[in-house]
Amino acid sequence: MVCLTVLILSFGLSRASGNLAISIAGADASAEDIAKINHELGLDRPLPVQFVDWANRAAHGDFGESFLFHEKVSSLIEEHLPVTITLGLIAIAVAVVVAVPFGILAALYEGTYIDVAVGVVALAGQAIPSFWLGLMLILWFGVGLQWLPIAGLDDWTGYILPSIVLAFVAIPVMLRMTRSGMVDAMRSDYVRTARAKGLARISIVAKHALRNAAMPVVAVSAVQLGFILGGSVVTEVVFNIRGVGYLAWESIGKGDFPVIQAVVLLFSIIFVGLTLLSDLVGAALDPRLRGR
């Protein structure tokens, strides 16, 4: 259902983008030239016919050929996807490593300045546009201190700044979830029992409270990975990384709609898939969410 809608939407959207033949042939091309290009690309057929044809081929993994790169869309994506996925996975790992400990800290020191500081970061962190964060990091660490490369992924140091930027997409939400989960868990009866029977604080926090508080965080990290991949459009442009996001940006700018259609479809499928995965992970970790 969602997939069908996305198919129609991504098709409709990219066709709304104006006349491709004109952008290929140039603004002062004659009417015959334009008609010829339209015919070659099959653009003179009725829209529903074009759609069914495209959807049918897309279902078989054939997204046609890019008008501007003169390369198969599927191989373009194959070329660009690994970078984006790698960056996304590093970023979500960074986000978990940063957000979970600080969330726990804020919950344990509830109401103190540590908690307030974490709360401000969680709220204000969402307000930082990721492209600007990227620009600032480039200015400080790339241009100012010259510690890290300012663009591209020539070696592993190139991954550092983009993954920090992408991780920041997920950190505020995960921080808040960890904190509220831990606050609830620390107030619960089983933690009081554990404390009453004299368990060490570390084992109460790490074993009893964290296991319960972490379940929603683990589940939500799949959804956050979806947001991170969505954010790759902006981040890859800032850091000049040739991933799917960059490809999307390039093809939107040039109206190359076989590529736009395929990329939008790809993003949507990944996003829906990750949302589903999140539900499944949640159910696997928490038996109460199973069944019904």
């Binding site: 969602v2 709304a16 307000a127 600007w132 800032v238 993003f267």
Partner: protein, 298 residues
Amino acid sequence: MDGGSTIVLPAKRRGLRTALRRYFADPYAVVGCVIYVVFIVLGILAGWLAQYDPTEILFTDDGQLAASLPPSAAHWLGTTNLGRDIFSQLVMGIRPSLFVGITAAVGVSALGTAVGVLAGYFGGVVDTLLMRLTDVVLGLPFLPFVIVLAALLGPSLQNVVFSVVILLWPNAARIIRAQLLTLMQRQFIEAARVTGASHSRIILVHILPNILPLSLLYGSISVGWAILTQASVSFLGFGDQDTISWGFMLQDAYASQALSQAQYNWFVPPGLCIVFVVAAGFFLSRGYENLIFPKLKQ
């Protein structure tokens, strides 16, 4: 509204005052409000504060292009590589941001409320159809879709607002529908129905006032997202090239290779403005959330 709003509770005035006092007891709300007031005042005075036309190409006294000047008394934040005054651009950039934030908030709360109320009130097929639609839109990846939509509809602020509204309304619609379902069980709705009130009267007089706090909440959350999105779209070069906005300034700076020249004066101010305005929006809605859901505050 019509004469239906005659039932005004006598304690309403005091209720409002209590609400305001409780709202401003929240430090986040105060900070958010102060930032907003400052930006709105600056936005109104922008034409007067900007010493130069933000798109005017300036020259120094000896006829040279006033390009990439460092901050000085004449140019508080320096100039761009084409000799434009950065401070003037910055204050003029307040207006598009506030415009986008406020119109998107109105759009999201209006559309979300309409869908939520229709689905919850009429139920049945209407409900099923509208909720399926909501699920579909919720399943779309936000940023890629907004960018594609805004880019393909054509570069203008209105199109950015439209794209944001189209993608953000489902959250509001879902919550409002849920609230409506509980409202529909309450006796005053039943009483209104028994006295023969029409659908429109029940919705406008009895339901909307109870829903309004929720739709305002979702509207206020959208302010920040809309401003952020507008900045991202402009930064990617799909925004209106004739409107000086903060996202446009950053795109201009990025495209002009100002990064490698470490022109902090060009990069830092617009970004900070975005952060302040958006954070203020989140602060405001957080304070407001505490006000309408006192139980959440812990």
